[in-house]
Subunit: 234 residues, 2 copies
DNA sequence: GTTTCTTAGTGTTTTTTATACACAAAGTAA
DNA sequence: TTACTTTGTGTATAAAAAACACTAAGAAAC
């Protein structure tokens, strides 16, 4: 154990908050423009210090709620970044989390947050051209890899969609995250075979073409099936 | 940033060092018996404080080398544990890593380490009956889940075997880690189809039955194939 | 109100991959 | 020489993945 005289690192949490924008079919992340140095004017993931009596995930959820107004989102620890000079002010070890949220579903809450002058949803595909603070480009890279890897064997894609969605939206989401194209018939067959999506007696509204049937994800059924050894796979 | 008066957590690294004992076909981890309180007499994973100017992985590799005498092992960040009261002495955040090593291959170095009175290789299957310090049972659980998950889509099983091994050893290793039985012919076909194992003109020695042909893993070829988009899968 | 445009929704065939399964040959020990 | 243990090998069946194209619905434009 360090003596009290011995310097200790600071410990922070950072949150990569992914959102799927159904309108524009675009994967976005929430970024904050830094007002002060270091990296004033650059963008950074929301984050902050971990309180001394606070659990890491609790701290991450607190940051998440502060920025989006939402709790109870899908959230998972991503990676811990601790390169000695990642923060010029001193030794800062950052435990990164990533969260998934549907932009359409929570449009109202999120809008409040994103209306703040210094907070913005930025498309993942534009991110390489933006100056990110600290090692947040690296954080982003690892978050994307994780999302890509995980979406195939855990039904987390649904966390990014509104409660009710057409299957085409789900397919487009998968295609964007995985960076591939998928055959419509094969994709629908596969999804429906899992029995994890429930068809509703509702249809898309305000579209200028045939309206698609809406479905919802049956999370309870999934959790029950997992206990029985079921493994989701796309 | 915390002011210097504000208390900060300590940050440690802990290493779950997995080894495969070919002799007894047994998966083991390296544990240290604690001499002092808290948890005197209990077993714990090797670990220690991160120096202020030291990278996290560097710290983990330093601990690993101190305990096993080996460097350059397969090692990966596992998870960061930070529940406020996981260490009764104060707030300690532990970044856990896991490493893979072949017991047979490095028998000499490891023996030196494991000969120390307080250091021992303990079979994973006996671990639930052993009193582990801190939250190390939880660490163990997560390390095993990771190993099980990862072994199927990354050729890390080879890291646990000696340089030259018969295919039967590889199969037994997979069966133990995955907790299943595998068909010999199908398993061999699958492994050979990847072209990642090179058959040698050498055979098992000192066995009281027909000696099996030895193979070695072609790591360079694997890394090259990965660049071309190859995905290992068992 | 007919035409145009866009997206929804649906089956079958072929190819690939996974699974199930058994016996002869090698080599050591008794 | 016999018994025992482990190696090493092929085929047939079942399941899953991939490839592929047209009709129907509905809104918008003319």
């Amino acid at each position: 154990m360090y003596s009290y005289e011995y310097p200790r690192p600071s410990v922070t949490v950072d949150c990569v908050i992914f959102a799927w924008d159904s309108e524009s079919s675009d994967l976005k992340v929430l970024l904050i423009e830094r007002a002060h140095n270091p990296f004033a004017g650059n963008w950074a993931f929301p984050g902050g210090f971990v309180d001394m009596d606070e659990d890491l995930e609790t701290a991450a959820r607190r940051e998440l709620e502060e920025e989006t107004g939402m709790n109870d989102l899908f959230m998972e620890q991503l990676f811990t970044f601790g390169t000695p000079n990642r923060d010029p002010r001193g030794r800062v070890i950052s435990v990164a989390y990533y969260a998934l949220v549907s932009l359409a579903h929570h449009a109202d809450q999120i809008k409040a947050a994103s209306d703040a002058a210094d907070t913005r949803w930025i498309s993942v595909k534009d991110l390489s051209e933006i100056e990110l603070a600290f090692d947040h480009q690296e954080v982003m890279k690892i978050a994307l890899e994780r999302l890509r890897g995980k979406v195939r064997y855990q039904p987390i894609g649904f966390e990014l969609l509104p409660e009710k969605f057409p299957l085409s939206q789900l397919q487009i989401l998968y295609e964007h995250v995985l960076g591939t194209t998928l055959d419509k018939r094969n994709f629908r067959r596969k999804i429906l075979k899992t029995k994890l999506v429930i068809p509703l007696d509702e249809y898309q509204q305000n579209v200028s073409h045939r309206a698609a049937q809406l479905y919802k994800f049956d999370k309870n059924k999934y959790e029950q099936l997992v206990k029985e050894g079921f493994v989701f796979e796309i």
